[in-house]
């Protein structure tokens, strides 16, 4: 159960970034899982290789990935934004493949483990044994979702993001800085993925091609939760994480990766607009 919540938090952080990009920039970023993968390696490098303390290494990952996200938006995304969705999809898929295989070449396929003090410390409550790290994942994710909600609802840039998700042209007309807002969106998305990576890396192995599966599951959550609707994506992520954990322990571990898609297809057959969705908009 708690394992499912951990998985759900991870998927939700990644899916929220994906939904944000889709909502604001109308863009499906197939390289989003690679943000997570790179974030995890940055964290590994900071924590294991440089010997930084956990909080510092955990903040280093989003810091580096924000820079990477902005660079990605400046180069690849700007070139493809005016193009058809075919081109956008293939371009981001190509980026994902380049990043994955570069990671394989540079870092090798050997999985890396980053156990921290919190991942081995166990909290024992009435026979229920829980690693502290899992509690940290949950608490931090909830705090971040709350922060994201506040940012999008209350700040000037956040409101600009919501406005852009409704009508880009109108935003440009009334003087919203469209480029700046898009850049902030990418920075936030990349940071969310990197934070997720820094939070769960102590619990799971890190390997170069973990991004692809994660992108797909996050997509399944975004699609099931209502296209581009952030809260829906978060809710659907937890649903997928919990189902996966339960199916993994009671039905079949080997087929757990297929669960997300079964859920997605089932939801879409029942409600084509997604669980909570009406139209695109954050």
């Amino acid at each position: 159960m708690l394992h499912g919540l951990t998985l759900g938090s991870m998927y939700a952080l990644v899916a929220a970034g994906l939904a944000l990009m889709l909502g604001v920039a109308r863009l499906i970023n197939f390289a989003h899982g690679e943000f997570f993968m790179l974030g995890a390696y940055v964290f590994w490098f900071g924590y294991s290789e440089l010997g930084l303390p956990y909080p510092v290494a955990a903040l280093l990952a989003p810091a580096v990935m924000v820079a990477f996200g902005i660079a990605y938006q400046r180069t690849v995304i700007r070139a493809i934004l005016p193009r058809s969705w075919h081109v956008q999809l293939i371009a981001t898929l190509a980026t994902s493949i380049v990043l994955t295989n570069l990671a394989i070449i540079v870092l090798g396929t050997q999985p890396k483990e980053v156990p921290t003090a919190l991942s081995s410390r166990i909290l024992d409550v009435a026979g229920l044994r829980v690693a502290w790290q899992r509690l940290l994942v949950l608490a931090a994710s909830l705090a971040i979702f709350w922060g994201l909600h506040w940012f999008v609802g209350r700040t000037r840039t956040g409101r600009a993001m919501r406005a852009m998700s409704q009508n880009r042209e109108a935003c440009a007309v009334v003087g919203v800085d469209v480029q700046w807002t898009a850049m902030v969106t990418f920075a936030i998305s990349a940071a969310l993925a990197a934070i997720a990576a820094a939070l769960v890396s102590p619990l799971f192995n890190i390997f170069p091609d973990m991004g692809t599966t994660l992108t797909l599951k996050a997509f399944a959550a975004v699609v099931a939760g209502g296209f581009g609707y952030v809260n829906g994506a978060i809710a659907a992520s937890f649903l997928i994480g919990l189902t996966e954990a339960l199916a993994g322990s009671y039905i079949s571990y080997a087929y757990k990766d297929a669960i997300a898609f079964v859920i997605m297809i089932a939801v879409l057959l029942w409600r084509p607009q997604g669980l909570f969705g009406r139209r695109i908009g954050i």
Partner: protein, 311 residues
Amino acid sequence: MRRVGWLVLGVAILAAPWLVAAVVPRQQRYVLHVLIFTALFAALALSYDLVVGHVGSLSLGHPAFFGVGAYTAAILATQARWSFLTDVFAAGLAAAVVAALVGVPLFRLAEHAFAVGTLGLALVASVVANNWVQVTRGPLCITGIPKPALGPLAVATLPAFYWLALAALIVVVSLYQGLTTFRLGRAFHAVRDNEPLAASAGIDPLKYRLLAFTIAAGLAGAVGALYVHYLSVMCPEEMTVALTVNLLVIVFLGGVGSLRGVLVGAVLFTALPEVLRLAPTWRLVIYGGLLLLVVIRSPGGIESLLRRASR
């Protein structure tokens, strides 16, 4: 003059085994192997282009149908001892049936979501191939798939297999042309170019998309069957996402929705890496970069360059 050029090209392609033997006698086997791969990949890419290029649905699930066909043929040939032609036919049929079944829910997804859904399908298929050990033998692979035989005629040598692959390619090319030129082709293009308009003119988009998807899957399954009969072994690695990338590179590098473009793409794609002798991971990095460059700089691929040159 042009006609003579085409005739020479056609004869050269038909006589390739002898030409290769005459020009590079030492590497005859290797060159023929590359040529066979080129023909099979060209056929597979053409089947893929039926969906991507002609009805405009970006499917990323083609490896699943290739895999269904390949495994069907592998199992029927090794365990039930079916003859070559019947198992190729059964492989195509199995892949088409699977496509028709999954196509109904998948086509409820619009544009991006369809791409994601089909990619998910490919992923699920490869998970199943790895884990359904009783049937697919998982990572142990199905081995000992017999060489094809057409009645009493055994296709055991490389030149013979080359002609078989070429014949298969010709069949796929004629099907591709037939499906995309006449009334049906016009309906496909109408659905691709303007879906609401097509629907209002009485062309049911779902019906035509599903039709193209099913036919493409059937062809992919049949090519998969040929492929395993050639390699005589089928492993789950043959149907990973990497295959989708290869197909995307061939189709988009060559030219979406164009017979000539896809054929040129397939030749370039299979010949280039052999010439460059790259490690597989570097190969994917380069393909990814190339794909990125092509879709950003010239979405029409090589075909658009050829058109410009001939004008």
